[in-house]
Amino acid sequence: MNKLLLNPAIKPAVFLLCLLPFAWLVYGAFTDGLGANPAEYLIRATGDWTLRFICIVLAVTPLRVMTGLNALARYRRMLGLFTYFYVVVHLLSYSWFDMGFELGEIAKDIAKRNFILVGFAAFVLLTPLAATSFNRAIKAMGVRRWQRLHKLIYAIAGLGLLHFFWMRAGKNNFNEVFVYAGIIGLLLAWRVWNHWRKKNAPTRSAAARVQPSK
């Protein structure tokens, strides 16, 4: 499996797979396939995909550690950038199809409405993460500082969930929100547990480091 993930053909394949939802939405937009209210469909679908990519990218490390598939780490950056790609399309769809690109109105809307403010804050916080996702930035910042900055993803995930929760609050329609919250909660809880485990078993993890798995 590790070998397969290291195969040079797999990365472009995963890239195309990540692009598929977007391609499908664009196709739908031009073939009248997004239902009676295509703008709403597009805004909601890109929001959904942002949340899904947050879940996917947060799942990389737990999966890697649990399965020992270290090659998974090679995909983390691309998945993170796709998260940013979908949130940008989400924001652009809202700005264009809901607000007609009237910047004054958009600014007022963001300031006035908590659920939009929270979503926008998540987008703003995600921007430096996307901007520092190339190797030279990691070098320039130093790994530790870079890692600390990228811990922001936990706060961003929380803000994204809150944005979705408030959006659904008026209709008391929380089933999907709870599914995403459950997944993200589990992935974050695993990190807490993993951290605690490492702290309490320093000798074992040190021993593990001496004998790298093949």
Binding site: A29, D32, L34, G35, A36, N37, P38, A39, E40, L42, F97, D98, G100, D109, K112, R113, N114, F115, I116, W166, M167, A169, G170, K171, N172, N173
Partner: protein
């Protein structure tokens, strides 16, 4: 179900009528699911015959009215109304029915009947989402007596010259064109005349977001979005269609404005 062209002022909107397909596949009818496509998918289970509407409360002639009798109670008219959803989209629908006032006059409300309450069927056997926590079932709506008596307030049995599709509120529903769509209760089984303002489904769910009156008002925003503009469904522009300005009382101000004279519509939203 055919109706003669209505002569009630305001009942012949000049806007382009929404495609039948959009009007019957993009619906809010939470008894059948919260997604817009759910009602069209799930409402096939609704049994619309036999059907009775119970009239009770402060009236001289309470009783159970069979759907066949209601259909014949007054002449069916076709009325083209704008429909503005609180979510910021709108349609234009040719309804078939008659003024609710015709029924109200027949049942003779008592002098102390100040409000009319409408209850939607809540049958968990045929309505898969009844019992979910989304709303307090049955779906309840209400109007002040003068609103209910207004000639534009429609008791509707059909649309587009046909009987109502199940997902649009068959076999009988209310249509109040100057209020947000959720005020127009669907699949009505009970009409109750009461003295005090009745509790309504969305107001009970989120009082800060949905008021009792819920008149279409571009100057009073929903807490989570602006009500200044709306997206007209299926107006040809598709994704790139510009939103249009929402009109006070959904463009029926000339007909209904006087009902709210002196009221602070920012408080009584």
């Amino acid at each position: 179900l055919k109706g003669a062209k209505s002569s009630v002022p305001g009942a012949q909107a000049m806007d382009k009528v929404t495609d039948y397909k959009d009007a019957t596949t993009y619906n809010n009818f939470y008894e059948f699911g919260t997604d817009k496509a759910d009602p069209a998918r799930n409402a096939g289970t609704l049994k619309t015959r036999p059907w009775t509407v119970e009239v009770e409360g402060l009236v001289k002639k309470p009783g159970k009215y069979g759907i066949e009798d209601l259909l014949k109670l007054s002449a069916q008219e076709e009325r083209i109304y704008r429909l503005r959803c609180v979510e910021g989209w709108s349609m234009v629908i040719p309804w078939v029915g008659y003024s609710l006032a015709e029924l109200i006059k027949k049942v003779e409300p008592e002098g102390n009947a100040k409000y009319v309450e409408f209850l939607t069927l809540a049958d968990p056997k045929t309505m898969p989402f009844v019992g979910s926590r989304v709303l307090d079932w049955p779906y309840a709506e209400g109007l002040r007596m003068d609103e209910a008596m207004h000639p534009l307030t429609l008791l509707s049995f059909g649309m587009y010259g046909e009987v109502l599709p199940n997902q649009n509120g068959a076999p009988v529903r209310i249509v109040v064109p100057w209020k947000y769509g959720f005020k127009s209760g669907k699949s009505i089984v009970k009409i109750r005349f009461v003295e005090k303002e009745p509790g309504t489904a969305w107001n009970k769910a989120a009082a800060n977001e949905y008021g009792f009156y819920s008149n279409v008002n571009p100057n009073v925003d929903h807490p989570r979005w602006s009500q200044a503009t709306e997206r007209r469904i299926g107006d040809g522009g598709g994704l790139f269609a510009k939103r249009t300005k929402t009109q006070m009382f959904n463009g029926y101000e000339a007909q209904v404005g006087q009902l709210y004279a002196g009221m602070d519509l920012k408080k009584l939203f």
